[in-house]
């Protein structure tokens, strides 16, 4: 078990800044995910930890050892690759044994570790197969077994599931999580799939434009995003440009967008008048009986049915909003053209600075809590 510390890391490719100001501290045994869109720098960060890129500035620590000057083959990190990178000319056994042979372990020890690793990934009996006889999922299992057989200080996953089909992806991600917890090896996992990140991780770092946007537990990342990027990259969100108006009771102000009038928590230390108002589709309650709170009525434009959820797109006071209706029953989904009434609970509303995207937090957070749990 080893912790990982990244200090002031910077990496450029020519003129392009791939990473800057990266500071991370990953705990022993933690499952840590780097989440971001393609080209955001998450893979570069992972490869810098592995030693395939040399940083331009900063430090990489594995436990008490500073490794940023070590060549890749001496870093003792087990990497699982996006395209498996299973050696096609070696059998499954030889693939898993490769790193052990490099370490000059005695033969019985190699055999013991290979079969233990293959057992963990459910590939017993496949020792003599060659990679071309394996499916994609099986090849990735070989990749995982190969990486953990060397008992590395940390496991590195570079989008390991993105080449698998949807069903297998779900199966494998649970398996990876289980294996990692069983072995207790610190893991850094790169993905662009936010659902995957939420499910698999202990903590997530959302990366964009070469910078870490937010680090936190999946719950915090989703429920309490620190900026507009995190809010809109993780999960769906409705964004409304609004004008802040008069005070509406202690700690609250009115916000106006078109003909919408909403009572929102007053942001602290913010003297601008325009804000970006955000709420998640599931936080709007469709409630024809409600009489108090932020009531909004609108005209249904279109609907979509996704099984457990129905999405309703409605035009409300000049804004186009998406709201979710969970577990819809027959007759629950309104027809296009019909009118719906929505209530937008204050605790589901988030405010962002429209200029730099920073979250604008209310003066007294205690006043808005309660709905979050």
């Amino acid at each position: 078990m080893t912790s990982i510390r990244i200090v002031d890391l910077e990496k450029r490719f020519g003129e392009v800044i791939a990473l800057s100001d990266v500071n991370l501290s990953i705990e022993k045994g933690e499952f840590f995910t780097l989440l971001g869109p393609s080209g955001c720098g998450k893979t570069t960060l992972l490869r810098t930890i592995a030693g395939f890129h040399r940083q331009d500035k900063g430090e990489v620590w594995l436990g008490e050892e500073r490794v940023d000057e070590l060549p890749a083959h001496r870093r003792d990190t087990g990497m699982v690759f996006q395209n498996y990178a299973v050696f096609p000319h070696l059998t499954v056994f030889q693939n898993v044994a490769y790193g052990l042979q490099v370490r000059k372990l005695p033969k019985p020890e190699i055999e013991r570790r290979v079969s233990a690793a293959l057992k963990t990934v459910h590939l017993e009996g496949y020792e003599k197969r060659t990679p071309d006889q394996l499916s994609g999922g099986q090849q990735q299992r070989v990749g995982l077994a190969r990486a953990m057989a060397i008992e590395p200080r940390v496991l590195l996953f570079d989008e390991p599931l993105s080449n698998l089909d949807a069903k297998l992806r779900v199966e494998m991600r649970d398996e990876i999580r289980a294996v990692q917890k069983q072995l207790g090896i610190t893991a850094v996992y790169v993905t662009h799939d936010q659902e995957e990140a939420l499910v698999i991780s202990d903590r997530i770092a959302v990366v964009s434009g070469g910078r870490v946007q937010q680090v936190g537990a999946p719950w915090d990342i989703y429920k309490d995003p620190e900026n507009l990027f995190v809010a809109s990259f993780v999960g769906k969100v409705n964004l409304i440009a609004a004008e802040l108006g008069e005070a509406a009771g202690p700690g609250f102000r009115m916000a106006r967008a078109g003909s919408l009038q909403l009572r929102v928590p007053a942001p602290e230390g913010f003297d601008g008048s325009t804000v970006t108002l955000a709420f998640r589709p599931e936080d709007a309650v469709e409630d024809p009986q409600a009489e108090a709170g932020n009531l909004v009525s609108g005209k249904v434009l279109r609907t979509s049915f996704l099984g457990t959820v129905a999405g309703i797109v409605a035009e409300c006071g000049g804004s186009t909003l998406i709201v979710d209706r969970h577990h819809p029953r027959a007759g629950d989904i309104p027809a296009p053209g019909s009118t719906i009434r929505l209530s937008l609970p204050t605790e589901g509303l988030m405010l962002f600075d429209p200029v730099d995207g920073a979250r604008l937090r209310p003066a007294m957070p205690g006043r808005t809590a309660g709905g979050a749990g």
Binding site: G78, A85, H89, A147
Partner: protein, 558 residues
């Protein structure tokens, strides 16, 4: 390793020395000899001063210009005929079921790879002054002129080089996504319209590519015009004649003609590069075209066309093999069959046979090792040095053997490299002429190997050298070996450079064939040629076994 190379501070490692070695080889054995040729062409023969006198002479005398026009005529005609033979053959064998099409393919490749002078000499025995076919036709009242001259060269060249067109076109035809043609027909186009509006445009870049290679090969061919050309001089034979007869100390005119030849070749190669750069159509989809089955007359016609084309190109080879078993008495053939000609070779010139094998095998070992290492640098390390080395390694593509031979004689006849007359100089010509093919094939194999495999090796704790040995090299093995076999064949059959460089004790089989033909010893020439053909056939078989793909790709994978 690729990733390690991206780090800012470049460390000196094994690949640094490989790069330096690459520069040394290219500098000494390529740039320097060619620089000498360049220098002599701009040096006055008499005074030794810088001058354009050679070029003025070239441009003002009909003798030289005529050779240039001859070369163009031969190359253009050969290309036209190659298209005429190649396109129908490719289309018929890929789109219709032709019985024995694998055999046809093999025979075509064999004809392509056989030493060029064999075909020429065989056509001479058939249609030359006393050619048996010509005499036979004469006796039934069909009078043909002897084959010598432009006609003979074009006949021999086109029947040898059309497979470049047919193989590349067939390759493209097989990788066209069937859906494209289906889409065309679905939109209402007839199958004829589909062929001309969809299929042909899609394969056109490959057709052009093949045609340009045929043009290039014909342009730089030396053996064929030497044997069958008679007084019809083309640029390579002109350069050879000038060089061997120029009494002056400075081979000014031979160098000038060489440069003209290289300029033409460079123009063709750049056209070919341009054409192949546009070859982006080949789709990776496995929606392969359907092979239709023909019946009745159409089927018979299709078979007839294919077998006629390939049969015609195989005819000279068959004749050579046939003559090798005929009994001889000195230069004349007598009745009966036997192994007399082979006995003569083994007893009279075993050294020549040995030389051919020794030189070509040493050259191939060098080519495989150096080519693989340099290929790695080009594919995996995009350093400035690698980017300079890359185009330098392309030079041998545009240097006809005759030109390289001339360059070697003038460059290595002086200190510090006194190599003229040694076996080293012949081995080095084999090596240099084939090196770019090997480098290119190694780097293209490497580009198909996912760098993540090497990274996985390194990540598991294996140092770069060990990773190359245990991961990269095993994955490249099949490609390296089949490339080496192809190099071996071309080296065994090399004539145009070695004819200038050999001395008595460094004689090789192609040179002996050429000299035997000149002296009229057709029996020995046939037997020697047959041995070369058998070697070529064995090599083809080996490539087939190693790659399972046939030699077609190795041949056209320029």
């Amino acid at each position: 390793m690729s990733a390690a190379a991206k780090g800012p501070p470049r460390q000196i490692d094994v690949w640094t020395f490989v790069t330096l070695g690459g520069f040394a080889i290219v500098g000494i054995f390529l740039v320097w000899p060619l620089a000498d040729v360049f220098r002599y062409s701009f040096t006055d023969k008499e005074s030794g001063l810088l001058s354009f006198s050679n070029w003025l002479e070239f441009l003002s005398k009909k003798y030289y210009l005529r050779a240039f026009l001859h070369s163009m005529f031969v190359a253009v005609s050969t290309t036209a005929l190659s298209l005429l033979f190649g396109i129908p053959l490719a289309f018929l064998t890929t789109r219709y079921r032709i019985r024995g099409s694998a055999l046809l393919n093999t025979v075509a490749v064999l004809a392509l790879l056989s030493p060029p002078f064999i075909g020429a000499y065989s056509w001479v025995t058939m249609l030359g002054r006393s050619g048996f076919l010509r005499l036979a036709l004469d006796s039934i009242g069909i009078h043909l002129p002897p084959i010598y001259g432009a006609l003979g060269i074009v006949l021999a060249d086109s029947l040898q080089y059309y497979p470049f067109v047919s193989l590349m076109t067939a390759g493209a035809l097989m990788t066209i996504d069937r859906s494209l043609e289906e889409a065309s027909e679905n939109l209402g186009a007839s199958s004829t319209r589909t062929f001309f509006r969809v299929t042909l445009p899609l394969v056109l870049p490959s057709v052009t590519g093949g045609a340009l290679i045929a043009f290039m090969m014909s342009l730089s061919n030396f053996g064929t015009p030497m044997i069958i050309g008679g007084n019809y001089l083309v640029l390579p034979t002109l350069a050879y004649n000038l060089f061997t007869s120029e009494v002056a100390e400075r081979p000014g005119m031979a160098s000038t003609v060489s440069l003209v030849l290289m300029l033409c070749a460079a123009a063709i190669i750049s056209l070919q590069q341009w054409a192949s750069a546009r070859r982006k159509y080949a789709s990776m989809l496995v929606n392969r075209p359907i092979i239709k089955r023909l019946r009745g007359l159409p089927s018979a016609l299709a078979h007839a066309v294919c077998y006629c084309i390939v049969g015609l190109s195989a005819l000279p080879l068959a004749v050579v093999v046939f003559y090798s078993f005929k009994n001889t008495k000195g230069p004349v053939f007598i009745k009966g069959f036997g192994l007399e000609s082979y006995r003569q070779i083994l007893f009279d010139v075993p050294k020549t046979v040995m030389n051919s094998f020794t030189y070509s095998l040493i050259a191939v070992a060098l080519i495989a090792v150096v080519g693989t290492l340099l290929g790695f640098i080009l594919a995996r390390r995009r350093t400035l040095a690698a980017r300079i080395l890359d185009p330098l390694l392309m030079i041998p593509y545009i240097v006809p053997g005759t030109v390289l031979g001339i360059g070697y004689i003038v460059a290595f006849n002086q200190k510090p490299f006194f190599l003229v007359g040694t076996s080293i100089i012949i081995i080095m010509t084999y090596f240099i002429r084939r090196l770019p093919y090997s480098v290119r094939s190694a780097s293209s194999i490497l580009r198909q190997i996912d760098p993540a495999l090497e990274e996985a090796g390194i990540n598991l704790g294996s140092p770069p050298g060990r990773t190359f040995r245990t991961i990269t090299l095993p994955l490249m093995k099949a490609g390296i070996i089949s490339g080496a076999i192809m190099s071996w064949v071309t080296s065994m059959n090399e004539l145009s450079a070695s004819i200038l460089l050999y001395v008595g004790r460094t004689m090789t089989m192609p040179i002996k064939v050429y000299l035997s033909v000149l002296d009229g010893f057709f029996g020995t020439a046939s037997a020697m040629s047959t041995i070369l053909l058998v070697v070529t056939g064995i090599a083809l078989y080996l490539v087939n076994r190693w790659t399972g793909k046939g030699a077609a790709q190795a041949v056209v994978g320029v």
